[in-house]
């Protein structure tokens, strides 16, 4: 090998402290699990039947007035509080528990036009219960198949121990955004699924780069004993640290720009990406690589006993 492994600066012994990272992640996941179990996820119309109504009012307004208009035109159906959004709070959002017919919504729009002027426009999405259920199933199947497909690819390209470590890391990266969305009560819609799958792809990207370096160093560095193996992983992690940080930083700031400045309709998508990016980078270094160390060490001990 051309460059000198002994010169790699190890600023912090990650491998030695791996138990702490396992505990930290477990705590977040357990809290998230409790939240998901007891509070559930705030499902959008894509997953729960009903009608979502977005209104562009075009000027500042009193949400109570809009609510009054809706109540008058749609008397019998429950709807959520009208929440203003947008930079100058000129847009509004509400959600009906049932699907609302287009005629009724037209009446709402016309009534609002009469009140606020012709610039009022609406955006409607409504979903029938049967379609909603199908979407949830399809989404869950897609996530599961993607994870398995990627894990098989890793097992073929690398080694099955890397495959296991990868699956653990991926489960972590899919679960963290779900837990955070549940804790923060953010709406989960079909773009959230797209975000989760993107996170899968991105997180695997990260893990491959690190595993690649470990694999390369395995060929050239001594790793017969447990301290040697731990040193090898520490070196590999610190050699790729700059790239890990830089890459996540560039994508993070782009996703942040999207979340802060982008359209409201992809705000949750961008947020899911942000959570997933941080979680993916963290888990590549502090979880997946460390799980591999654990598996590898157990393997080494077993071999010794056999000999």
């Amino acid at each position: 090998m051309s460059y000198d492994k002994d010169h790699t600066v190890i600023r912090f012994d990650i491998v030695k402290n791996r138990r702490k990272f396992f505990i930290a992640s477990s705590v977040i996941i357990i809290i998230g699990l409790l939240f998901t179990l007891f509070q559930g996820l705030h499902l959008g119309v894509d997953f729960k039947a009903g009608t979502r109504l977005d209104l562009f009012i075009g000027k500042t307004f009193n949400p109570a007035d809009v609510e009054a208009v809706i109540k008058k035109e749609v008397p019998d159906v429950n709807f959520s509080k009208v929440i203003p959004y947008g930079t100058d709070l000129s847009q509004a959002y509400t959600r009906f528990d049932q699907t609302i017919s287009s005629d009724t919504l037209m009446k709402v729009e016309n009534a609002l036009k009469a009140k606020y002027g012709e610039q009022v426009s609406k955006q409607v999405s409504s979903v029938d219960p049967s379609i909603a259920q199908e979407m949830v199933q399809k989404a869950a199947i897609a996530v599961a198949i993607a994870a398995v497909g990627i894990a098989i690819y890793i097992a073929i390209r690398f080694q099955w121990l890397f495959g296991i470590a990868c699956v653990v890391g991926l489960a972590h990266d899919v679960f963290i955004p779900i837990a955070l969305f549940s804790i923060l009560g953010l709406e989960v819609d079909i773009t959230f699924i797209a975000a989760l799958l993107t996170i899968l792809g991105y997180s695997i990207n990260d893990k491959i780069v690190i595993f690649d370096r470990i694999r390369e160093n395995l060929r050239t560095m001594k790793s017969k004993t447990i301290p040697e193996l731990e040193h090898l992983v520490n070196v590999s992690l610190w050699q790729t640290m700059r790239r890990s940080v830089y890459t996540v930083a560039t994508v993070f700031f782009t996703a942040l720009a999207l979340a802060v400045l982008g359209s409201e309709s992809i705000q949750n998508f961008s947020l899911a990406l942000l959570f997933g990016l941080v979680s993916g980078t963290y888990s590549s270094i502090f979880i997946a690589a460390q799980v591999w160390v654990n598996l590898k060490e157990r393997n080494m001990k077993k071999k010794k006993e056999v000999v």
Partner: protein, 412 residues
């Protein structure tokens, strides 16, 4: 020794790229179809049910129903609806236009077609339900000219109608719109009639579809409706583009500061990458939606990562004491496998998204898959080629150009 030829070639390549981008971007960008969420419009997902119990919904019925819907929307005067049949029994209708009579159109589409055959006084002689199921087809006369053949379930009814209106026109109406007005040439006894006229293969098929869908109108049940107001759509596009510019500017500055000369090349290839993605989008006739834009911005992130992996590797090699040229060679070689592995896994994810996702997720997957392939060409091979030209020109031999301080370099 400085090799000017290589540097000149580099300048020529970059110059050509810049000229291409500068002269055609506007036109290419204008050609890209924007999704409903970006320009306003609406999308309805219908479930197709056969009107008579026992009839199966098959791809033929779906296609003819989709045809009928398009026909009806065209009658309503809206240009270019997109209808997609989705197995087993759904039709997705997308109308990317902000017409005020959206609600009227929905009513028009949802209503079952009513097909009638009327005499010259407008009296209804026969109805769509008198046609045998799938009774209309395209046939040919002796001169191989296309015509439309009709098969009625009750020959007696047809015989009576043709006898009463011999040598007179009998118009075929879909609801209140006349589709064709053939003249009856003879009394038809067998139950099979022909409509001749100046039909092309296509227009005969269209009429046959129309008659079939009128004869066996499927029931359409609205399952999902998404409609976007024009002002909301434009606002979303403007904001997302603005966020995209800011994100791109951040990446541009970052690459330049951290990696200097290679960073500059990464920025050039990233601009090329964006341009070629737009060209391919235009060429694929893909529709760009908000999730599509998000997927694209993510692909930019992955493309940037490919450059960062390579440049970090080159910096590492320089720090270990290698010359710029051999560091470049080693860095390129070692990073390639990693990058390819990373791209392939993301492609696997997009494949899964496409096969198991629903409409909007599929659009996202197509855009992401396309950008990853373009990224391999521009950001892996394109960027390597440009960097190779610059390195081999021997003009940038100092580690400074690669973002490495002299003090960081170890003695061999």
């Amino acid at each position: 020794m400085v090799k000017w030829g290589r540097f000149l070639l580099f300048l020529v390549v970059v110059g050509l790229l810049a000229t291409l981008v500068a002269t055609t971007t506007k036109q290419v960008a204008g050609n890209i179809t924007l999704g409903l969420d970006l320009q306003g419009g609406f999308e309805i997902l219908y479930e197709v049910e056969p009107i008579e119990a026992g009839h199966k919904v098959d791809i033929e019925l779906l296609k003819s129903t989709a045809h009928m819907i398009e026909r009806r929307i065209n009658i309503g005067g809206v240009a270019e609806p997109v209808t997609t049949a989705e197995l087993p029994n759904r039709i997705r209708v997308q109308i990317a236009s902000q017409s005020a009579d959206q609600d009227k159109l929905r009513e028009l589409i949802g209503k079952p077609a009513h097909l009638t055959f009327r005499d010259e006084n407008g009296k209804v002689m026969l109805q769509g339900s008198d046609l045998a199921p799938n009774g209309a087809a395209v046939g040919y006369d002796e001169l191989k000219r296309p015509l439309v053949t009709l098969k009625f379930s009750d020959p007696k009814k047809l015989e009576d109608a043709t006898r009463a209106n011999l040598h007179k026109p009998m118009a075929i109406f879909l609801d209140e719109t006349m589709q064709t007005n053939p003249t009856i040439q003879s009394v038809i006894t067998g139950g099979s009639a022909q409509i001749t006229g100046n039909y092309t293969q296509e227009s005969a098929q269209e009429l046959a579809d129309l008659l079939n869908s009128g004869a066996m109108p499927a029931k359409l049940v609205e399952k999902q409706v998404t409609s976007v107001g024009a002002s909301l759509g434009t606002l979303a596009l403007e904001k997302t583009l603005y966020a995209g510019y800011i994100g791109a500017a951040l990446i541009f500055i970052f690459m330049l500061v951290v990696y200097r000369m290679p960073g500059m090349i990464a920025n050039i290839t990233l601009a090329g990458f964006t341009y070629f993605c737009m060209v391919v989008l235009d060429w694929m006739h893909a529709t760009l939606t908000l999730p599509g834009i998000a997927g694209f911005i993510l692909a930019v992130g992955i493309a940037v990562d490919a450059n960062i992996i390579t440049y970090e590797r080159i910096q590492e090699e320089i720090r270990s004491g290698k010359t710029v040229l051999s560091a470049f060679r080693a860095g390129e070689r070692r990073s390639l496998i990693t990058i390819i592995d990373a791209h392939v896994t993301t492609l696997i994810a997009t494949g899964v998204l496409f096969f198991f996702g629903t409409s909007s997720v599929q659009g996202f997957a197509v855009v992401l898959a396309m950008t990853i392939i373009v990224s391999i060409i521009t950001n892996v091979f394109g960027s390597r080629f440009l960097l190779w030209l610059v390195v081999r020109s021997n003009m940038f031999k100092k580690p400074f150009w690669f973002g490495v301080k002299e003090s960081e370099i170890r003695e061999l």
